[in-house]
């Protein structure tokens, strides 16, 4: 088996060493994950505005394809909350919920997203995801959690409402308050309260009662199943659907159908940007989960191959009645904790879900939407973490500004504007920071060869020699800053005859900075001052050698700052500064 094939098809890597023990571990994990996934898939389909079966279909083919192409051994791929919200927001702009066009648009979105991910993987463009800084992601996930929870309130109240931003949702809910169905409210609030209790208190209670840690964990994760069973029975026994409680209703009993995404230019044009956004956000979420789990077993995931794995999963969803998917946090953690050792566990989960799709769907006929909404609310409220605001405020104001803007704009103007603004703001703030770099004027620490900031340390200086250490790469954004800085410094001191730029922290000098250095050099020559450089790094020096700057320089390039000092300072004049 050649390594090239193994790079693109990791299945050949782990498949060769598959043992009976691995099989048994994988199957156990698959059973546990399947039970957890059934209500979750139905719920996320509801969140995306799609019929419930779409959530189950979106978990079958994608899981199988990821098992073949993905590199993580524990990642479980399928519908997740944030991507479901993004899907609803994107498709809501091109079709009405409940129409055939809406479902087709969901396939198109999955197709475009899958194609984009595969292309990014082939061209190894995984680094593009890095434009989403951690604070922007944290802010976006928190705001999405709030939006998702709010969007589910209509199911808890039993009213119709709509909207893609927080003000729209709240105003729409308020306008429909008179339609409240009180039986739905009772079911919804009971389910929510029960699920919160399960999440917070069931595990410690079970442990106190003597259950093993794994069993306690599995029973806790099965909480939604209990809520589903109980409320479904309640609706069926008391005929509550006749009293206005909305239920899931008929779900076709079938394997995932073969479907074709719509590819009309209008539809593709309208969904392309949302598809790119969904791809990148899904990829970021998935890779960070996969990396965390891989590290626990000293394994490694390949981000560019992950793009291909996730892309294949989304293309699979597009042709089997699904919608955009990605690696989910909670399902992956359950898979990992339950002992999954290889991606084959995913394949067994897919088989379990396929059986459920064929055999179990009649059982959810009486399942109330309010219960599904409750599972969503409880799941997403764990995503809401406003402490990121306080953490970034304490650490760096630029990061705080990015988080705060992302949260406010996502809530107020919707997910797409929110993410785009967050990215733009982080890039601009980074450029702003590097546009005014930290610059220290340095002098010699007595009896050493070290040079430190004259304002922080007691050092020797020479009025005829100014040494500036710029703590940033020199590039277009700070090139003119450097010109102003040096001009200002040399017009202050009349005795200056030599200026040294100490370049130990300069990792790059781009063409703009080169021209600024040339201009600085020329202006200093006009004033009778020589410009020198010291401690220039290898890669920067290689590049400078290709320009005419070195020939035009009034001064020299010194290997170390001490060499510069030794050559240029006048021992009679230099004095200790405090």
């Amino acid at each position: 088996m050649n390594t090239h094939l193994r790079r693109y098809l990791p299945v050949f890597d782990w498949g060769r060493t598959y043992t009976r023990q691995t099989l048994s571990n994988d199957v156990i994990a698959a059973v546990i994950v399947t039970i957890m996934l059934i209500p979750q898939s139905l719920a996320y389909a509801l969140l995306a505005g799609l019929p419930p079966e779409a959530g189950i279909y979106a978990s079958i083919a994608p899981i199988l394809l990821y098992a073949i192409f993905g590199t993580s051994r524990a990642l479980a791929v399928g519908p997740v909350a944030v991507v479901s919200l993004l899907t609803a927001s994107a498709i809501g702009q091109v079709a009405e919920q409940g129409t055939a066009g809406y479902a087709v648009a969901a396939l198109t979105l999955a197709f475009l997203s899958g194609g984009f991910l595969v292309l990014m993987g082939i061209f190894r463009l995984g680094f593009l995801a890095n434009f989403l800084s951690h604070p922007v992601i944290a802010g976006f996930i928190t705001a999405s959690g709030i939006l998702i929870a709010t969007s589910q309130l209509k199911h808890i109240l039993g009213v119709s409402a709509h909207g893609h931003t927080l003000p729209e949702m709240l105003m729409s809910l308020f306008a429909h308050l008179s339609e409240i169905n009180w039986i739905t409210v009772v079911i919804g609030l009971s389910a929510t309260t029960f699920l919160f209790w399960v999440r917070k208190h069931l595990k410690p209670t079970l442990r106190r009662l003597g259950a093993g840690p794994l069993l306690a964990d599995i029973l806790t994760k099965a909480g939604p199943v209990a809520a589903v069973v109980t409320t479904t029975l309640a609706v069926w026994v008391f005929d509550l659907d006749a009293q206005g409680v909305r239920i899931v209703g008929d779900v076709p009993q079938s394997l995932p159908p073969l479907t074709l995404p719509g590819l009309s230019p209008d539809l593709v044009g309208a969904l392309l940007v949302p598809a790119i956004l969904i791809s990148i956000i899904g990829f970021v979420e998935s890779v960070s989960v996969a990396q965390t789990l891989a590290a626990k077993k000293r394994q490694r995931i390949d981000p560019d191959q992950e793009l291909i794995g996730l892309g294949a999963a989304n293309l699979g969803a597009a042709f089997t009645g699904g919608y955009p998917v990605t690696g989910g946090f909670s399902r992956s953690v359950v898979n990992f904790d339950a002992g999954a050792e290889t991606p084959a566990a995913g394949a067994y989960t897919a088989i379990g879900l396929a059986i459920a799709a064929m055999a179990l769907t009649p059982l959810v006929y009486y399942l109330p939407n309010a219960t599904l909404a409750a599972t969503i609310i409880v799941a997403v409220l764990s995503l809401v973490d406003l402490s990121i605001l306080q953490k970034t405020w304490g650490y760096a104001r630029a990061d705080f500004a990015a988080v705060a803007a992302t949260i406010l704009l996502t809530l107020g103007l919707g997910v797409e504007v929110g993410v785009a603004s967050g990215v733009t703001i982080s890039v601009l703030l980074h450029l702003y920071k590097t546009s005014r770099p930290h610059v220290a004027e340095v002098g010699l620490v007595p009896d050493t060869q070290h040079f430190r900031n004259i304002h922080r340390h007691s050092v020797e200086t020479d009025p005829s020699l100014v040494t500036l250490r710029v703590d940033e790469s020199l590039y277009f954004v700070n090139a003119r800053f450097l010109e102003d800085l040096i001009q200002k410094r040399v017009t202050e001191g009349c005795a200056v005859r030599n200026v040294v730029l100490m370049c130990s922290a300069v990792n790059d000098v781009d063409y703009s900075a080169l021209e600024s250095l040339e201009a600085i050099n020329q202006r200093l020559i006009d004033m009778g001052i020589r410009l020198h450089l010291s401690e220039v790094k290898g890669p920067v020096m290689d590049r400078l050698k290709r320009s005419h700057f070195i020939d035009a320089m009034g001064g020299e390039i010194f290997l170390s700052q001490y060499d510069a000092w030794a050559a240029l300072s006048n021992p009679d004049v230099s004095k200790a500064a405090e």
Copy 2:
């Protein structure tokens, strides 16, 4: 006089030391500049699509206002070629040339541009201009020169044509070829040839004939005046205007009128973005000219105060029948070479131009447009410098890509798209470069305390200790790169027990990088490996101390890399690598 007032009104700075000798120098410079400015102002107004007097009016009030608020002692403010082109491009989208609406839109553009510059100055936002990298500016100026020269061909040929991009202009010229006026062509080509000859050969010829350098220079700069006088006389004597040669015609004899810019929301909305673009490009051009001239006399200009000076000049243009202005290269150099010592020289130039506007305008009635076009073509072709392509290709491919894109997009899609794309591309390429920083694995150079790249130098290493030196600030764009890199390195070597990140070139660690460091630390702990840092800079350390990272670290923070080596390496295992 308090210093605060002097900061905002530099006139109080130089005004206090004004002597009879300074006055005499300033007056001589003003006479020379005035003679040069009359044809230039008419020509640039033609380029902007405005009546000729607008060019003269745009040189009077702006020069006076800049003399009060500006900091450069030699900068001459008025219409310039690139800004005139930008003006034509911006106004062409909202009004027809020759209509009253067109002239009002020019006033609005000057007003918006002036307001924006003043606001930028007050909020000290001059650094925003830094987003235009030198290669982008060079590419833009070159492409603008080509566009301007092409736009003037219609005047040389005596046809009507239009368009704001190179393909549009060429196609329009081609479509109107049948209208060629051959007398105009003769005038235009003669004037162009004459002016090229003057520019290239007159000065050396005069020097050979014994003229002093200053006189030779002034006579050379007066070349356009000679062309204007000769062709005007030719048209008048031979009655060429009756044969279809287009002439300047009636120019009102008056001081600059009091005008009001149009401020309807539609007009402001349409012109706001172009006004910002014109402001920034004008500012960049002006500051680089001013800085070059100031350095020659060891003076300094204050970029933020320059914004206020240029802003005031543009506001002045808006209320006195002008259009957007900035500090021009050629007029400033003439002013400087002619001996101007203070901004008062500008005020005397304004008086000279005011006299010209009242007394001399009837003299340009018969001046052919073709002559003005010839002066523009000869002036702007000196801006065209395609060598920037070759220079950046040799120096750095990223800079080459930015130049090439700016030139092609400016020519093909117009000035606004060109500049915007250039800025976007430079920012993206910078981010891309920093997203994959240079990382060296280092070892100890024997018998020293220095650590160098193990692949370039013969150094000591220890298989249990990996030291990585990252040559870039750690921030969101490369945070995940760092995670992948370390994960990859430690999964390769089974014996690794300590990882040291050497931070001598790390100038910043933002919140994303902090979280990545926390994730790396946690994953390494899961693998039984400890993460350490060494040579962390003061400002970075201050910030890290405000986080929980240092408490959570598996390892320590060492002052120097040698301390880390001394504490962590196992002398029995370490060996020399080649």
